[in-house]
């Protein structure tokens, strides 16, 4: 089947098999490998990206369901060589260790601040419940998100 969707501001059209997962489509058809696959079962959040501006788990969405939608992946955040404020906050606050969960964490965190611009630490912790960090680097991840919110971004 044919799908057409906007990925990081660019219109992409592809012929796909209906069972193609959104994350698989982005990684394998469009070579956007910044989005990781962790658990394959919508538990870990490594594959989080934005669908029409909201964080979703792209291992549990068919590319066909995203037909006509607007997708943003980690690759689409930096503008003109300048990191997104959330990426900057993760860097400044050492919000990553091995980095595997980071793209998903950043995408989930941006979506969280879209819905709650000034969260408490507790709200950040609860808001990121769908993203697992196997390094258990949660403390600095939370600090990064709070710092980004405080910076008014």
């Amino acid at each position: 089947m044919k799908i057409s969707l906007t990925v990081n501001g660019e219109l992409r059209e592809s012929e796909i098999e209906p069972r193609t997962l959104l994350v698989q489509y982005l990684r394998e058809n469009l070579a956007l490998t910044g989005t990781n696959i962790g658990c394959d079962t919508s538990s870990c959040g490594a594959c989080s990206m934005h669908l029409n501006g909201e964080a979703v788990k792209s291992c549990t969405i068919l590319a066909a369901q995203a037909d006509g939608c607007n997708i943003t992946t980690i690759e689409g955040l930096a503008k003109g060589g300048k990191m997104h404020p959330m990426q900057e906050a993760f860097m400044q606050n050492h919000g990553l260790q091995c980095g595997y969960c980071t793209p998903g964490m950043v995408m989930a965190a941006i979506s969280l601040l879209e819905e709650n611009a000034n969260p408490t630490e507790d709200e950040v912790r609860v808001g990121l419940e769908g993203n697992l960090c196997r390094c258990t680097g949660y403390h600095n991840i939370i600090q990064s998100v709070l710092a980004c919110a405080k910076g008014g971004n």
Binding site: P18, L62, A108, G130
Partner: protein, 281 residues
């Protein structure tokens, strides 16, 4: 493709996108038992990836935006089946009239899941471990379903027939959930699990208004359970502690990796007591 590790993919299927409820029903009627409705996909796609389900046709109803609404309908709130968990959670109408349901929706999965999963999908999937089937059961909800031969209403208590089995016929689609207003009743939702986003090992949805009450149990058997013995005990003047001892009267909980059947029964009585204490304040 990466070597050594392959993605979990569903078995191949045909994908049909419905432009209306009528078209969706006609498509499913055409393909019969091999077809499944796809709403948010957050229950169905994991099952398909695990090959526990392998429908040959998916009828995508996810874009039927006319079935996404939350309306005040007088004595009840009418919720379109394709309303997402996030919209149930954040609805001011539900916060005012059915706060137990809005709160229970917040307990479903995580924000990413709640951006996609729908209340109708969760109920039609009829998973006893899901939060919203037991919650709408406790609240005495009615489900409206539409099929090739017309529309009918099914009381939540008559809907759940077995593990992932409901009273829905293959050509029928759940279109609306009608939840009675709580009219100021006290309420509580208790969810016992090991990690934040996990399914409940046992969950309890409860409300109370004087001698009237409703208690639904999550993951206490092959279907969501209406703990009617507890409500009867409250109605006849029993204390919360005594009523909670009857929590498992209607339940036949399974043993699994997380808990034995007896442990689930123990948890149910503890959580029902806590829920009723909170709902009685």
């Amino acid at each position: 493709m990466r070597e050594g590790w392959q993605l979990m993919l569903p078995a191949a299927f045909d994908y049909k996108r419905a432009g209306s409820a009528a078209e969706a029903i006609s498509l499913v009627s055409e393909y019969g038992e091999d077809a499944k409705f796809l709403a948010g996909g957050h229950s169905l796609l994991p099952l398909m990836k695990l090959r526990l389900a392998a429908p040959s046709v998916l009828v995508d109803i996810g874009r039927l935006s006319d079935l996404s609404y939350i309306r005040d309908a007088g004595d009840h709130i009418a919720i379109g089946a394709l309303t997402r968990h996030m919209d149930v959670e954040k609805s001011p109408v539900l916060a005012q009239h059915v706060p137990l349901l809005a709160h229970a929706a917040w307990h479903v999965g995580d924000p990413q899941v709640r951006h996609r999963g729908t209340i109708g999908g969760s109920i039609a999937h009829a998973d006893p471990a899901s939060d919203l089937p037991a919650t709408t059961l406790a609240l005495g909800a009615t489900y409206v379903v539409q099929g090739a031969s017309g529309t009918r209403e099914i009381a939540a208590k008559d809907f759940y027939k077995g593990f992932l089995e409901s009273a829905l016929r293959p050509d029928e689609m759940l279109t609306e959930i009608r939840v009675p207003k709580m009219n100021g009743a006290g309420w509580s939702f208790q969810k016992f699990n090991r990690r934040a986003q996990d399914w409940a090992i046992v969950g309890v949805a409860a409300w109370r208004r004087g001698s009237e009450s409703g208690v639904g149990l999550v993951n206490m058997g092959s279907t969501p359970v209406l703990a009617s013995s507890v409500a009867s005990a409250i109605a006849s003047g029993a204390s919360v502690a005594d009523a909670a001892q009857k929590a498992s009267n209607e339940a036949e909980p399974q043993s699994d990796l997380n808990a034995t059947s007896d442990y689930r029964k123990h948890l149910a009585s503890v959580l029902v007591r806590r829920a009723l204490e909170e709902a009685s304040r």
